[in-house]
Symmetry: C2
Subunit: 695 residues, 2 copies
Amino acid sequence: MSFDNNVATKFPKLAPKSPSGELLLASERAQGSFDVNELSKFMYTDDWLQRMYKVLAVLENEPAFDKTDRYYLSRKDKITSSLWKDSRLVELVKEQKWDETDTQIANFLYDQSTPFSLHYNMFIPTLKNQTTAEQKKLFLEPALAHRFIGCYAQTELGHGSNVQGLETTATYIPETNEFELHSPTLTSAKWWIGGLGKAANHAIVMARLITGGKDLGPHPFVVQIRNLEDHRPMEGITVGDIGPKFGFNSVDNGFIMFDHYRIPHVSFLAKYSQVEKSTGEYSKPPNAKLSYGTMVFVRAQIVMGVRFALAKATTIAVRYSAVRQQFVDAASPKKWDNKITETPVLDYTMQQYRLLPAVAAAYACFFTGREMIRLYNLNQDAMQQGNFSLLADLHASSSGLKSLTTTMAIESIEDCRRACGGHGYSMFSGLGQFYQDYLPNVTWEGDNYILTQQTSRYLLKTFRNVIAGKAEPSEYNQTITYLTQFLENPKAKCPATKPSDFSNPELILSAFGFRAAYGIAQVAEQIDRHGRSWNSMLVEISRISKAHCQFVLVRNFIVAVQNDEQLTTAANRPLLNVLRLLASLFALHTMEKELAEFLVAGYFSSEQTAMLKEQVIHLLEQVRPEAVSLVDAFALPDYFLHSALGRYDGKVYEAMTEMAEREPLNHTLVVDGYESCIKPFTVKKSAADGASAKL
Amino acid sequence: MSFDNNVATKFPKLAPKSPSGELLLASERAQGSFDVNELSKFMYTDDWLQRMYKVLAVLENEPAFDKTDRYYLSRKDKITSSLWKDSRLVELVKEQKWDETDTQIANFLYDQSTPFSLHYNMFIPTLKNQTTAEQKKLFLEPALAHRFIGCYAQTELGHGSNVQGLETTATYIPETNEFELHSPTLTSAKWWIGGLGKAANHAIVMARLITGGKDLGPHPFVVQIRNLEDHRPMEGITVGDIGPKFGFNSVDNGFIMFDHYRIPHVSFLAKYSQVEKSTGEYSKPPNAKLSYGTMVFVRAQIVMGVRFALAKATTIAVRYSAVRQQFVDAASPKKWDNKITETPVLDYTMQQYRLLPAVAAAYACFFTGREMIRLYNLNQDAMQQGNFSLLADLHASSSGLKSLTTTMAIESIEDCRRACGGHGYSMFSGLGQFYQDYLPNVTWEGDNYILTQQTSRYLLKTFRNVIAGKAEPSEYNQTITYLTQFLENPKAKCPATKPSDFSNPELILSAFGFRAAYGIAQVAEQIDRHGRSWNSMLVEISRISKAHCQFVLVRNFIVAVQNDEQLTTAANRPLLNVLRLLASLFALHTMEKELAEFLVAGYFSSEQTAMLKEQVIHLLEQVRPEAVSLVDAFALPDYFLHSALGRYDGKVYEAMTEMAEREPLNHTLVVDGYESCIKPFTVKKSAADGASAKL
């Protein structure tokens, strides 16, 4: 080339069309009726917020935590930059003397899983919970010192949901006092294992324990997979990365296969079950019920995580919808400086209908997550005293709530992305990669469809118990309460006579309870009286789990805004008012979405349906002026959002163009491939060697 | 390093657990009741299929069309490889003497948009339709010769949906007989323009025509943007790529800004409106109604495209669901070689419910696309004769159908992906990138929410006409027919008394017609009698558009399987039977999804709802054995699908491992970043310089 091709493209210094995003957001913020900061403190506590700002200040100055290039990186560069973040975080924790909460906040703000994530989330916890003292010394101590980097290898190429179908074997060899790990088929390759592909040097491997010729099913082993000196795979092991995924490409999800690979006796995690040396005799683990408590805790965290997911998605979409103006609404034109301007899209009812219920859902998940943690603690105390009466309901609800809320989250992320119009499709929206990375939540920790079966089994069993007079309503078991109420009056009707009646908390709870109970009764009848098979009822089975969990979400929200001690003080009256609006909106929007189930039960009339819809629109109108303040209260910093559309300052278009300037394709004037793929067409052959080509 | 790091990871040669995918798919294929090839020919014609196989044979041997690396490429490599494909296709067309259909098939099979896509789809068609003879010579001829590579620049950073709000100006300068293009603000930057970022040297630019001080709104201009000799941007122009997107990263969507950039008078596309030289006098375009015909044609193509999208997604998910076995269904365990095996997930009702209606929907879109093309041709003939009576209904339905069917497609692609469990999340499923690339369809060519307003405006107007006695039912206007029927009996009830009644074609059509009419009547009442604003009714407005278009989809399917001459021959009886099952399944599954609207109208009773659900499950049972044959009939070659899960031969696990071997991270033993980010933790400082590090 006869010119310098390495010229970066720069936008001219021009302002966007007025009114600017800054002015628009300022006018939105002036409309809010409550103190944003007070609402943030109510949700997070002041302590947590202060810690977050402290950690944020550190990360914003750490090159290893810089997000500037996040949306441009190739897969390989994502892995490399993630490893850098992981190793730097180990140092930062020491330098900054961060405790576990601070470290969690750092990972939360970085907002991207990395190769070491499973080391912290699965490898170390498993080593803590399932090892003997000897094993703690051998495995846990080096893991805490990062000499061992670990992962958790359960899923196989051929088996995910059905853990009992795993094929990898661990055969005890009494002669040498070893276990022999083996992958008998291609489908037995461990697959999807986070951190295994390239980073880990150890793995917890779930393998079928075989001793004395008996197959005892899947059990956990600690296995060294890579050399500690040079990181090469150990002999007898085939290990690598499973390749590109829809998202999560900053993690090296891996595969591993074992070819008669021997590990010492001490590798078998022996806290709960043991294999005796020499004899190979097996002793069983104790009652597994205690571990259900842990599952409840994990799922409470997932529901709290859904709150953050909804908060992030709605923060971006609501702010951008206040900045983005499109069309003049002839019926009520907007004015700015006395000139008619286009209308911010957030003023269109359809946009409100797409976004504001998702804001309400974020708050709903907060209250249910909080309640799950409270019940988890109650239940742990009760179980310590031998009282297992709370466990079944809590565990069953937690399965369905994981399923329901993660599905809500992923749908809302995508709804929010689409509600951002064309720019939602740009990676700079922050919503695209977020959707991609969040998506595994609907499949892992229990596939969302399969999980509903656990919840529904419990619901049907409880229904049969209530009918048989073997279950009494109690404060801790709302399922029994709503089922009992239903059976007392299975032909009940909704008492609403005007739209505002639908905001009555008791009316709402009765309606959700009735609808859940009606569905459960119908399924029970089909199975118990008409002999329908479980398989043929799976569609309805997933519906009753959802109905029950929507009851739980609505109830926890409603109860909190009636009774919460902190909210019902005089000073917090403005918070309470807006949260009550949101509780109604969440409940009624959910009703409208699930309308068929309220109608088929004969519970709502057609007239009441019209009232319900009117009340939803009315609530949207009331929430509309609070919208930007409500998402501000989520207190999600720009560093966390990393979104051109969701910036706190509303400088959407400035950010879009700055981020476009950083696109690597814009670092040269003429694209790679021009010479061979475009020039032969555009520069005529005869002229190509002559004057015009030299221009 | 003291060892060769460049060692590729290879899987051991092991077979998957039996029964293999090959055996499972063979047994599925043995169950089909109809001739797969006959169904393919019915949909595509034998001629099209032969052409496809001919083109396929060429592409499979063309390195520029090789898909092997598709899922591993960085953004930059995607652009480079796309340019290679584009330039090679120009040569192939000549070498192979391909006509337009062959070329379309080549692009269809390659299945990825590229920098030249908009040159063919927008630049050339616009030049063909909107130019004078002089302009054809100046612009169209070089475009056809690829000396000009073009794009179509309409959308701006601040304006997408509202074309009238575009800010770029083109001011006529009578002194020099030029137009001056200018971007007055940052928001006026053209944005999202496919092919503009790096490849195009010309653009059609939509800019506000200003002449004699008057702003005449957006008009099209042909503008040279890059030098033909060396591809550098012209002076006065800022142009580049808008950066990474959620999908579509093989296309260089670009931005452009003009700084008082002059273009000659001839650049103004002057077929319809003109600006007179020297005086700058403007003359208006003729009636725009003719162009609505073209929109109908484009949307018919989109609906046909939805058919392919659904076909692709369901082919992958159905085949994999027949191969993937998970859990033993205790109630009816599967046997293979007399041994109990796990159950293919396609045998679970929930999986059938997720997948088989989407198969049916693909066929529904085929019949509606076909009908739209028939009506388009009828209407073109009618308009030639000055008869515009068909246009309104056809155009209105086409808006809503674009909205409805592309939304159906994107939802089904994602449903199919999730139905593939964990592996659906791997790029090797073929569904991830497909989802990403398909997604813009719900936003472009009219945002799916905004489009519904066009349809509903027509529906409300027609309703008012029917009430006023100003509209007569006719064969070509089913809207008037169902509205008239509704008004004759607005309290009608569904006559079903047993589940199988729901498969009665007349019952189905009456139900869909009634439900659409009821919704329209409700909205009309709210607006016309209660004075509700358009904005406050947007949610219901989008619902009535959907209700109408679901009626259209169902009707076209039902009518075809009653009356199609080719299908109702004796020889095609088996095809007809299976298509009738699918028509029922599509209709009843849609009813169930939209149940609330049938219930709120009082049209279905609770008992009938139970019958409907029973009939859906019954239809799933009947379609189940045909499932693999039905997707085989879509005749989508493995090259097109590029999916490990959807392969015709069922070798799912072999393909997953082969594709994992190709992951670039697996081409070295030890990952980049090991030395700086892992080694400092795992190799103890003291030992690092000593013996163990040299191992």
